[in-house]
């Protein structure tokens, strides 16, 4: 009887256990550091999302510009410098780039992330009812601004083959650079509708002008450059802090000098020491047993006084001046090209020029001024292509779209 008494409780125990198990395993602590997507569909989360887009863009830009400048003739890789070790940087420097180069992945993947964040922010804002329209306006301005910036980067830096620029968006077929510039401009024109200040409008105009300039549409470039940034406008840049350091500083700068300046860049300063105001560099440490003198860029640094890390300029009034000057020399705009160039030089306390050409190597030229003014800002790579001065014939002129995209994109 005792046996039976005990055994009769077994089915009850089983029954209770089965139902208790499910409740038990689902009663766990919630995530402390993550939140589900729908939770962010609120007005008070829009600024948080905008900053996310900006930060995500900054994650891309430092690595993108290291690669772009490494491929250009501004920087080169040598193991003679202490701690220059990445074979992927060596490939980029030589233009012999394998498709599995993970230094290029480090730029390509984040580029599309911030594009996606920007694009989905537009759709998210559409789902939210706003009480404060300025939040909505700021959200849309930034979403279009950075959506355009991503497409401009795709057009300028990436390519499927060595000599043809273009990229995919959301697994599309390859979109040639010219079309991508159009898509960027379309986004930026939308941004103009939500710009809150004139300075914001001038910035967007400068960005549109540059896209047209790189596309070769000088007339449209001139139209927007004329209404672009002017002396005194703040720089539009990618910002960094000590928690998200500027990788240009970390890998190709004062911390680790995996890319160093080509002699051309050093010669600018040798020839005119005042050029150091806009081409700052320092002597790099050598690997054991190595000889020679090498210099790393010191444009991006940690300011020991303020603890701030230099941001990477994405558009400045100086660049707008140089664009306008170029367009004047190309006959697409009217005005005093030399005065525009000298205004830029004066901002760095550099003596004025007496003449300026478009790209005459024996005389002061726009291409040289851009080389110096916009150094380490990813501008030399497109300029080498635009001005027909590519230094690695038969090699990659774009950063190759990485293997990951080629394998997973059915339209390639």
């Amino acid at each position: 009887m005792k046996k039976i008494k005990i055994l009769k409780y077994v089915p009850l125990l089983v029954f209770l256990t089965v139902f208790a198990c499910e409740d038990y395993v689902t009663s766990v602590d919630p995530f402390i550091d993550r939140v589900e997507d729908a939770v962010l569909d609120r007005e008070d989360q829009v600024n948080f999302l905008v900053i996310g887009v900006q930060d995500a863009a900054a994650f891309c830009i430092d690595d993108l510009f290291i690669a772009a400048d490494g491929l250009s003739d501004q920087l080169f890789f040598t193991r003679a410098v202490r701690n220059a070790t990445y074979p992927t940087y060596e490939q980029i420097d030589l233009g012999d780039i394998l498709l599995d180069n993970n230094s290029i992945d480090a730029a390509y993947t984040p580029l599309h992330r911030f594009r996606k964040y920007a694009d989905t922010l537009i759709a998210r804002i559409d789902r939210i009812t706003f009480k404060d329209e300025s939040i909505k306006k700021n959200g849309l301005y930034n979403a279009y601004l950075y959506g355009g910036l991503a497409r401009y980067f795709s057009a300028t830096y990436f390519g499927l083959t060595q000599e043809s620029g273009g990229d995919a968006i959301n697994r599309s077929a390859i979109i040639p650079s010219a079309k991508l510039y159009d898509l960027a401009v379309e986004k930026w024109k939308n941004a103009l509708n939500f710009a809150a200040t004139d300075a914001q409008k001038r910035l967007v105009n400068s960005l549109i002008a540059r896209a047209y300039l790189f596309k070769g549409d000088y007339a449209n470039a001139a139209t927007y450059a004329k209404d672009g940034m002017k002396n005194g406008d703040p720089v539009f840049d990618a910002k960094y802090n000590t928690l998200n350091d500027n990788n240009y500083r970390v890998q190709a700068g004062e911390l680790r000098s995996q890319f160093v300046l080509t002699q051309r860049m050093v010669d600018y300063v040798t020839k005119d020491p005042k050029e150091a105001n806009r081409i700052p560099f320092k002597k790099a440490s050598l690997a054991t047993g190595a000889t020679g003198t090498y210099y790393y860029q010191y444009k991006y640094k940690l300011d020991p006084g303020t603890g701030l890390i230099t941001g990477i300029p994405l558009m400045t009034w100086q660049e707008n001046n140089l664009m306008l000057a170029e367009l004047i020399l190309r006959g697409a705009a009217s005005g005093d090209a030399l005065a525009l160039v000298n205004e830029v030089r004066a901002s760095h306390q550099i003596d004025p020029l007496t003449e300026i050409t478009l790209n005459d190597p024996s005389k002061p030229s726009i291409v040289e001024e851009r080389d110096k003014e916009l150094c380490f800002q990813g501008m030399r790579l497109p300029d080498e292509r635009r001005f027909g001065i590519w230094h690695l014939p038969g090699k990659w002129q774009y950063l190759p779209i990485p293997e990951g995209e080629r394998n997973e994109n059915p339209n390639f």
């Binding site: 046996k3 077994v10 125990l13 089983v14 089965v18 198990c21 038990y24 689902t26 009663s27 766990v28 602590d29 402390i32 550091d33 993550r34 939140v35 589900e36 997507d37 962010l40 989360q45 948080f48 999302l49 905008v50 900053i51 996310g52 900006q54 930060d55 995500a56 900054a58 193991r79 202490r82 701690n83 070790t85 599995d100 992945d105 599309h112 992330r113 911030f114 996606k116 990229d167 995919a168 968006i169 959301n170 697994r171 990618a238 910002k239 960094y240 802090n241 000590t242 928690l243 998200n244 690997a287 054991t288 047993g289 940690l302 603890g307 990485p402 990951g404 995209e405 997973e408 994109n409």
Partner: protein, 967 residues
């Protein structure tokens, strides 16, 4: 023995209850084959729950009420530790019965009880599954092991253990059978006294690729035995995540010392050891060795001092075991240090005949210090094998500090109650609570690559886990000879991990480096994870006439790791065994022959956020705190399912040989493949999990044991383990191959898991004049072998001679093993490879070595040199994947037992034993591999990278001298 003692007590009381006059007597004598009496053997009639233990003459006797005698036939059985049990059928007529037994020695311990499931245990002679039992206490008596990985290595058929570096307390990985399915980290579940323990590799702030094993906290000298279940066929009732098997560690319990008249025994062991490099880099490989042996000069001998004291004893109702160990160990590089202190108290109480309780507690404090190495510029090896202090100055490398302090508490309480005959109810609760604190310092006065004026990094981790078990087992005879045991139970696991970390740089003084004195905070954050699993299981074991055995079982499992809704998963199991030696009249030379087959299903859980479609996190960067995507999940994700079939046999013959053989086949389906979205989608915060993969693995494991010499003064035994494993990834659901971080190990359809799959040089290219102009590489990636051997195993010799000497040796081998020698590849890039530099000079590709004569372009010697040069081209990783078949003389020990000698000089029994020994670990390694160590992996023990030697610290050779004294 501890299982038998409660029975003894039970049986001892039974006669007093049966002093009725209407009884008849069952009696006899139990001896061994030589006629020597066996004292304390249990003789019983299971069907009546009656029996007795033998006395000093081996005699037993018990009375049975006549009313129970109905002319039926019942089994009269005898069991005795170290001997094979016997049963004879007797007819109960009411008349006295005399039955003598002569027991055979259980040479191969086939009668030893082993764990065969979550609540089932039986002897190996009737087990329906392959189960390995490691007699840890016997092994630790003759060898000194740093940790459990050394203790297990080479001793379990079907299990490979790889220590991933030579750091003290370093990580290691199990590879069980063919590696399980596609998912998880291939590691088995580990239980210590019933507590499911944390088996994470703790990394914190990296020091290269290596992490530490939390299992390094275990003092192996506290371990009594380890049992290993090797796959779903055996471990299905442990539920999800048991697909890679289960390792059950049982610590020592208190023992009575019959005959010695002592209530307590105290043992002390002192071990002095030396860690010394097992490999010397050659001048023919590295210029930095040729240059005054500088690459080898960084190494030193590290000393080991290990004190261990334990006390054991008790009474009939209370037994205890307590121990303390302090192991101080230095490694073969200056910074490597370990200081472990462990405390252990196990108490068992038997307050009533039908009630037993166990309280097991253990506390460990462990300090571990390690240097930088592997793939980073701050390590010893990178700065001696690539560029001689070319990345970081020697003083900076030497003064880097990585100090880890961790505490771990393990405690369990279990109770076994038998409310009615043949029924046991077991309840247990176990707890693990551990804290890990890492302090990493890059001193401010040295320059370290990207670090600005020093760095202080702090990492904290707190783990708390609970394991609850409740089960009931009831045995009964369905019909005569057919016995059924029903088990029902539930098992619950609750695990919480919290981490926090902070990194500051820019210190004003190297003398003050608390984290608050750093000017720049580079990083700070925290993490938390909470997982619960729960399952209910039912198992029914049947045995018929001790000849046929079969089991049917099912487990229903729930886990919080699977999305928002907890799906239930059902895991079935069935197994069968047949004692052919009892079924048929076999030749008398065959002592045991058993066939068995088992089938079971287990799984691997997804990650705890895999079931949530989109998760956003906050990032603190230059523009402020913003939202970024953190993970992309799949709501319909479910666990990977792994089915296993194993068949095998065990046999013993000629009273000298034992052979076990198991063939296994595992099929994984619904494997979770993390598909990386195309980058252009922007949805790349994580890969997306899908149940689209599959793989299969198969192989066999075998163990041959031979015991040709047995005697008082000499005993010789051998064992030989031969395993074969193979596997194939059968399905990735159309996903691209998945590569490790170095793009070399792959998960790809049609290949083995972790296969090396990359490009390599086919040969040199020459111009019309025969001048070397470059390399010709394979057009695509090629299959270059696997970092796990397919045939592997071990050979063990145990020889006791001249009565008191004991010699033990264990060698491990592996065939078709490959290792990727990244160290060599990078040494070539940094112009430090002797051969490559010579070839360069001979081919006229450098003027750096004027003393080396150039070869004539187009000559046969020139072409041969060019071919060799091309095959060392560092662009192609495949050129550095080397054959690494191995034979390792893993363990060697010689000890002498002075006990007998001492007893002649010291009267009385004050000294119970005194043994002195010498042992060596990793004594010799033979391999074609040209690098330092076939067993290391630069990315530690859990990543997809396997078999990659990239500036990774070799595992040392260890010499130990020890003595053990017992009072």
């Amino acid at each position: 023995m501890k299982k038998i003692i409660p029975l003894l007590l039970l049986f001892a009381l039974i006669p007093t209850l049966l002093l009725a006059q209407n009884t008849f007597r069952v009696m006899g004598r139990v001896t061994d084959k030589q006629g020597e009496p066996l004292v304390g053997a249990n003789v019983f009639i299971k069907a009546l729950n009656m029996g007795a233990a033998t006395d000093l003459d081996g005699k037993y006797t018990f009375d049975v009420p006549k009313e129970l005698a109905k002319g039926q036939s019942v089994a009269l059985s005898v069991t005795y530790v170290g001997y094979k049990s016997q049963s004879v059928n007797i007819i109960l007529t009411g008349n006295s019965i005399e039955q003598n037994f002569q027991l055979e020695e259980d040479i191969f311990e086939s009668e030893t009880i082993v764990v065969t499931g979550i609540a089932s245990r039986t002897s190996k002679s009737v087990s329906e599954i392959a189960v390995s039992r490691i007699p840890a206490a016997e092994l630790t008596a003759v060898q000194s092991y740093q940790g459990i990985n050394q203790l297990l290595s080479g001793k379990v058929a079907g299990v490979q253990l790889k220590p991933t570096s030579g750091n003290v307390g370093g990580g290691f990985s199990f590879f069980v059978r063919g590696g399980g399915g596609l998912n998880g980290d291939e590691q088995p579940m580990i239980f210590v006294d019933g507590i499911r323990v944390d088996n994470t590799e703790i990394v914190g702030y990296g020091r290269g690729g290596q992490g530490f094993s939390i299992l390094a906290n275990l003092n192996v000298q506290d371990i009594e035995k380890i049992e290993v279940l090797k796959g779903p066929a055996a471990a299905a009732m442990y539920g999800t995540n048991a697909s890679n098997g289960v390792v059950m560690i049982t610590t020592k319990s208190g023992k009575l010392l019959p005959g010695l008249g002592k209530a307590v025994s105290i043992d002390y062991k002192y071990n002095f050891g030396i860690n010394t490099p097992s490999f010397k880099y050659k001048a023919s490989d590295f210029l930095s060795v040729k240059d005054n042996d500088r690459a080898n000069k960084i190494y030193k001998d590290g000393f080991i001092r290990d004190h261990f004291i334990s006390a054991s004893g008790g009474t009939g109702i209370l037994r205890y075991y307590a121990s303390f160990q302090n192991r101080i160990e230095e490694g073969i590089l200056d910074p490597i240090k370990g200081d472990r202190k462990t405390f252990k108290v196990n108490v068992a109480a038997y307050p009533a005949d039908n009630l037993s309780m166990k309280f097991n507690t253990g506390f460990a404090y462990n300090f571990i210090q390690a240097p930088n190495n592997d793939n980073n510029i701050y390590g010893y090896l990178g700065n001696t094998l690539l560029a001689l202090w070319g990345f970081t100055d020697s003083a900076a490398v030497a003064n880097f500090q990585d100090k880890n302090n961790n505490n771990q508490f393990l405690g369990s309480y279990s109770i076994t109650w038998s409310p009615i005959p043949n029924m046991d109810v077991n309840a247990s609760v176990g707890m693990e609570d551990s804290d890990w604190r890492q302090d990493q310092i890059y001193p401010a006065q040295y320059r370290y690559g990207t670090i600005n004026k020093g760095s202080k990094r702090i990492y904290n981790r707190h783990f708390r886990g609970f394991t609850y078990d409740l089960n009931a087992r009831y045995s009964y005879d369905i019909i005569e000879g057919l016995r059924s045991t029903s088990i029902i139970g539930t098992q619950i696991s609750d695990r919480r991990v919290q981490t926090s970390y902070m990194n500051a740089e820019q210190f004003g003084s190297q003398y003050i480096m608390n984290i608050g004195s750093g000017a720049t905070i580079r990083e700070y954050n925290e993490g938390a994870a909470h997982n619960r699993d729960a399952g209910i299981y039912f198992e029914n074991d049947f045995s018929y006439k001790d000849t046929y055995f079969w089991t049917l079982a099912v487990r229903r499992d729930y886990a919080s790791a699977v999305g928002r809704a907890a799906p239930a998963i059902t895991y079935p199991k069935a197994s069968f065994a047949l004692r052919l030696d009892k079924m048929f009249k076999l030749p008398e030379q065959i002592d045991l022959l058993k066939l068995r087959a088992a089938y079971g299903v287990s799984g691997q859980l997804p990650a705890n956020d895999d079931g949530i479609p989109l998760l956003w996190s906050a990032v603190n960067a230059g523009h402020g705190i913003g939202a970024v995507l953190n993970a992309i999940g799949n709501e319909s994700i479910k666990p990977e399912e792994i089915k296993e079939l194993e068949v095998g046999f065990e046999t013993e013959f000629l009273n000298m040989f034992s052979l076990e053989f198991t063939y296994f086949r595992q099929n994984a389906s619904n494997s979770i493949v993390d598909k990386q979205n195309a980058p252009s989608t922007g949805l790349t915060a994580s890969a997306v999990p899908f149940n689209i993969g599959g793989m299969k693995n198969w192989g066999f494991e075998s163990l041959l044991q031979v015991n040709p010499i047995r005697g008082r003064d000499y005993n010789l035994s051998f064992s030989f383990i031969w395993n074969y494993q193979n596997n194939e990834v059968t399905d990735l659901g159309g996903a691209q191959p998945i590569f490790d971080g170095f793009d070399v190990n792959v998960i790809k359809e049609g290949l083995r898991k972790h296969e090396f799959y990359t490009w390599k040089t086919k040969g040199a290219k020459f111009d019309a004049n025969g001048k070397y102009i470059g390399v010709e590489a394979t057009e695509d990636r090629v299959d270059l072998g696997n970092p796990y051997p397919d045939h592997y195993g071990s050979f063990t010799v145990n020889f006791r001679f001249l009565k008191n000497f004991n010699l033990y040796a264990l060698a491990e081998y592996g065939l078709n093993n490959k290792v990727y020698n990244l160290t060599k590849q990078f040494a070539i890039q940094y112009n430090n490879n002797t051969t490559y530099e010579e070839l360069k000079a001979k081919l006229g590709l450098t003027t750096k070595y004027p003393e080396i004569q150039r070869l004539e372009v187009g000559s046969a010697e020139y072409k041969a040199a060019a071919e060799q040069y091309a095959k060392m081209n560092y662009v192609y990783d495949g050129n550095f994947i080397e054959d690494a078949d191995f034979l390792v003389i893993r363990e060697l020990s010689l000890s002498y037992d002075f006990t007998e000698l001492i007893s002649e000089f010291i009267p009385g029994n004050y000294i119970r034993n005194f043994v002195v020994g010498f042992s060596a670990y990793n004594m010799f390694k033979f391999s074609k591999y040209t690098g330092a160590d076939i067993e290391v992996n630069f990315e530690g023990s859990r990543s997809l990278s396997r078999g990659q030697d990239f500036l990774t610290l070799q595992n040392p050779k260890v010499f130990n001298f020890w003595f053990q004294i017992g009072f």
